[in-house]
């Protein structure tokens, strides 16, 4: 039952959230909007992976979630660094 709930309840809702976020990504209008969308998408990805690890009963996937969490941060920092430097010009 838990599996079905996660598969047919939670994962679709997370996926819909991802779609919404992705729509923001497409709309922009600013690059930073896209960066934020990306960051959020990664977070949703972490959630999906966590749920998926329950569904498949493999905790190995949580390692991926961990890496995602660690590294998403770097991307955001890099983008803001870059945009700020560009603004400096």
């Amino acid at each position: 039952m838990l599996n079905n709930y996660l598969l047919f309840g939670i994962l679709p809702v997370l996926s819909i959230s991802a779609i919404l976020v992705f729509i923001r990504f497409l709309k922009g209008p600013y690059t930073l909007d896209r960066v934020v969308s990306l960051d959020f998408l990664i977070n949703i990805g972490i959630g999906i992976i966590a749920i998926y690890s329950i569904v498949t009963d493999h905790s190995a996937f949580l390692d991926v979630a961990m890496i995602l969490a660690l590294i998403a941060f770097l991307g955001s920092i890099a983008f803001s660094y870059y945009l700020e430097q560009r603004g400096k010009r």
């Binding site: 039952m1 838990l2 709930y5 996660l6 309840g9 939670i10 809702v13 997370l14 819909i16 959230s17 991802a18 919404l20 976020v21 729509i23 923001r24 922009g28 209008p29 600013y30 690059t31 930073l32 909007d33 960066v35 934020v36 969308s37 960051d39 959020f40 977070n43 949703i44 972490i46 959630g47 966590a50 749920i51 690890s53 329950i54 905790s59 949580l62 390692d63 979630a65 961990m66 969490a69 660690l70 998403a72 941060f73 955001s76 920092i77 983008f79 803001s80 660094y81 945009l83 700020e84 560009r86 603004g87 400096k88």
Partner: protein
């Protein structure tokens, strides 16, 4: 137990959904940023908690704690970094914004921020994407 897991994941997912809606609906960038940063963190926290409960294994719990801990540190920091960049690059505030005490506090050359003074030097024009 399953019920608790379902509840936790549901709450978490709901928070994420709300944040996603926020990201779509919010009228200016700062509002969107503000909404996503914490809702996502909170939502993920619930989901991870549910995961920890499901596995009930020491190593998994540790991993979950590590992830949450990490998110707690990084999410606000990246929010701050992105937010200041947004402000700096001249992102427009929503028309309903009632107060902007940051206006004119940035030095345009060095990007250093003063704590005081009302230097009315203009903000950089919006630098948007090519």
């Amino acid at each position: 137990m399953e019920i608790i897991i379902m509840a936790m994941t549901s709450v978490g997912t709901l928070f994420i959904l709300i944040a996603a809606i926020g990201l779509i609906r919010m009228p200016d960038f700062f509002l969107r940023l503000s909404v996503t940063i914490k809702a996502a963190t909170l939502g993920l926290g619930f989901i991870m908690g549910g995961t920890a409960l499901y596995f009930l294994e020491f190593s998994v719990t540790a991993k979950v704690i590590a992830i949450i801990f990490f998110l707690l540190i990084t999410a606000p920091v990246s929010g701050h970094m992105i937010g200041r960049t947004a402000y700096f690059t001249g992102m427009k505030l929503w028309k309903g914004t009632i107060l902007d005490e940051l206006k004119g506090k940035y030095d345009r050359k060095t990007h250093s921020l003063t704590s005081d003074g009302d230097d009315p030097s203009e903000r950089t024009p919006p630098v948007d994407e090519l």
